[in-house]
Every structure is written in C-alpha cells, then in structure tokens.
C-alpha cells in the first residue's frame, strides 16, 4: 500500500508546490479580457460556419457500422419517414424544407432523437447503440461550368 503512496507523493512536479497554491489569486482583472476573447472567438466561429455552410446544396448520409448505407437528397421538397434496412426500428423523418431528423429509436437515451432537425452541411447526429451516424454533407450538383465529357486516351 505504501508503494502506491510513493507514487502519489510528489507535489513538486513541474514546480507546483503547496505554498504557491495560497498565493495564487482566484481572479484577476485581466481575466475579463481572457473571457471576452473566448466569447468573441466563439462568435467568430459561429459566424464563419453560417457564412460558409448554410447555402450549399446538401444531402444526408446515413452510416451503419461505419458503412455508408443510404444517401438522401435534402433539396427535393419531399416529406417522408423511412428507415434503413439494417435497423428498421430507427425511423428517420425527411422534411420538405430540407431538414432531416431521427424521429424514433429504440435506444435507451434517445440522444439521436433529441438532436433535433439537421439542415446544414457539417451537422450530424448519431445513435451510438444502433451504430448509426447521420451526416449532412455537400451535394455535388452539376454546375454550369463543369466539364461534361472528356475525350481522350
């Protein structure tokens, strides 16, 4: 038992010693800048996300056990409920406004269902007990300037 105590006995790792604990302040005035910086950073990230990812055409990919089993186009104004054949008890709901969600599941925690609607590229939800991951990814629709045919050797 004292062997274990020996393992835990070093307060001087990386110069942390007990006396210093009492001299350290709880809160400095400059901390406010630190917190503000973080808040600003989070706003920047959120803004960047919305800016770059909200308008891209999207499709939903459903993975089961890390294999892609179904792709659902989100831009087709269809409203339907469906499941993947591997897990028929998990129901997805595709909405005509281009969003999709887990509607029903037999898992214990229902984190998947409570993730709500997904509609933007980058969003995802998962039902880990059923090994399902639902991801929204970019849809590569043919654009006007894309090359149609390439002829050559």
């Amino acid at each position: 038992m004292f062997l274990l105590a020996d393992l835990c006995h070093s307060p001087r790792v990386v110069g942390l010693d007990v006396e210093r604990l009492y001299t350290m302040k709880l809160f400095n005035k400059t901390d406010i800048i630190f917190v503000l910086a973080i808040v600003v950073a989070s706003l920047v990230f959120w803004g960047a996300y919305r800016l770059f990812f909200s308008e891209t055409p999207a499709k939903a990919e459903i993975y089961h056990d890390s294999n892609l089993v179904m792709t659902v186009d989100l831009d087709e104004n269809i409203d339907k409920e469906f499941s993947i054949p591997q897990e028929p008890q998990v129901v997805f709901h595709l909405f005509s406004d281009g969003s999709i969600r887990f509607e029903k599941s037999d898992c214990r925690d229902k984190i998947c269902v409570r993730s709500g609607k997904l509609d933007m590229v980058g969003q995802s939800a998962a039902c880990l007990p059923n090994k399902i991951v639902l991801k929204i990814v970019r849809e590569h629709k043919p654009q006007k300037d894309d090359i149609d045919i390439i002829i050559g050797n």
């Binding site: 038992m1 006995h9 709880l26 990230f45």
Partner: protein
C-alpha cells in the same frame, strides 16, 4: 519519518477520495445528455476533480487519477468512451501544467479552470473528429467554448469554498 509517512497516507487517502468522486461524477454525467454537441462528448464534470487533483496533489497524481478514471469508463461504457475521457483529461492537464509553468503564480484560478474545461471538451472533440472522419468540427466550437467558460467559472467558484478546508489538511 513519522511525519513523512503521515503525509504519504494523507495524500493516498485524498487521492482515493478524489478518484471516487471522479467515478461518481463520471456516472452522473453519463446520465445527463447534451443534445447539440458532438456525439459522445460529455459535460466536463469529472474535469473538476482532475483539476483539484492537479492543484492539491500535483501533476503526477492528476495524471494517475485521469488514467484510472478512463480505465473505469472503459469498464463501464466501452472503448470509445474511455479514449474520449483519456484524451480530454490529458489535454486538460497538459495545458494547465503549461500555464502554471509559464505564468508561475500570476495566472489566476479562473483562467486555469476555464482553460482546463475547454481543453477537456476540445480533446474529446478532436478524438471524435478523428474517428468520424469528415466531421466538420467548427460547428461545435462555439458551444464548446462558451460551456467551457461557464464550467470553468463554476469550478473556480467552488474552489474558493474548498481552499480553507484544504488548508486545514496541512499537506506539504
């Protein structure tokens, strides 16, 4: 010699108690779901304990508690969850030790706590994005940062309550 042994025993007991608390918090945060966050990422409740271990018992013990806690998560929740837990804890400890080393005692508990909380969730996010390739992690950063600030603030406030009690322990 007696004083030394008594110190060791105090440390051992404190470590054990902190570890037990970490386990309890780990179970509790398993029950609380966060709907919008990346799959598998949990509230950094147990990070509070790791932080306190770092402050009161040093880096080596904090690492020990973190690893043991991850092992416990491995037993109860499975491999993926334990890797998440381990990485979150490790990143949190590393960053806090760095801050302490660089700033000595000019850094405040608040900054340490917030950094610890953020890095804990950040570590988990990094692991999740490595596993689920293609996860656009930028989505989760705003919530991660804000919740880290809140958690860190709560932790630092709690610490203010605990510090007098800790002084009574008279650990060297």
């Amino acid at each position: 010699m007696n004083a030394e042994i008594s110190q060791k025993i105090k440390r051992l007991v404190l470590t054990g108690m902190l570890f037990a608390t970490a386990i309890v918090l780990s179970v509790v945060e398993d029950l609380i779901q966060l709907p919008l966050v990346a799959p598998g990422v949990k509230l950094g409740l147990a990070n509070i304990v790791v932080m306190y271990t770092l402050f009161f018992l040093g880096g080596r013990t904090a690492l020990l508690v973190s690893v043991l806690k991850s092992y416990f998560v491995f037993i109860t929740r499975g491999l993926v969850a334990s890797i998440l837990s381990l990485c979150g804890g490790l990143l949190s400890i590393v960053i806090m030790l760095l801050l302490l080393k660089i700033f000595k005692d000019r850094v405040s508990y608040l900054v340490l706590s917030i950094s610890g909380s953020i890095c804990h969730n950040l570590g988990q996010l990094i692991v999740v994005s490595l596993i689920y390739s293609g996860l656009i992690w930028i989505v989760h950063l705003p919530i991660l940062l804000i919740s880290g600030v809140l958690a860190g603030t709560a932790t630092a406030t709690l610490l203010k309550v605990f510090l007098p009690a800790f002084k009574k322990l008279d650990l060297k």
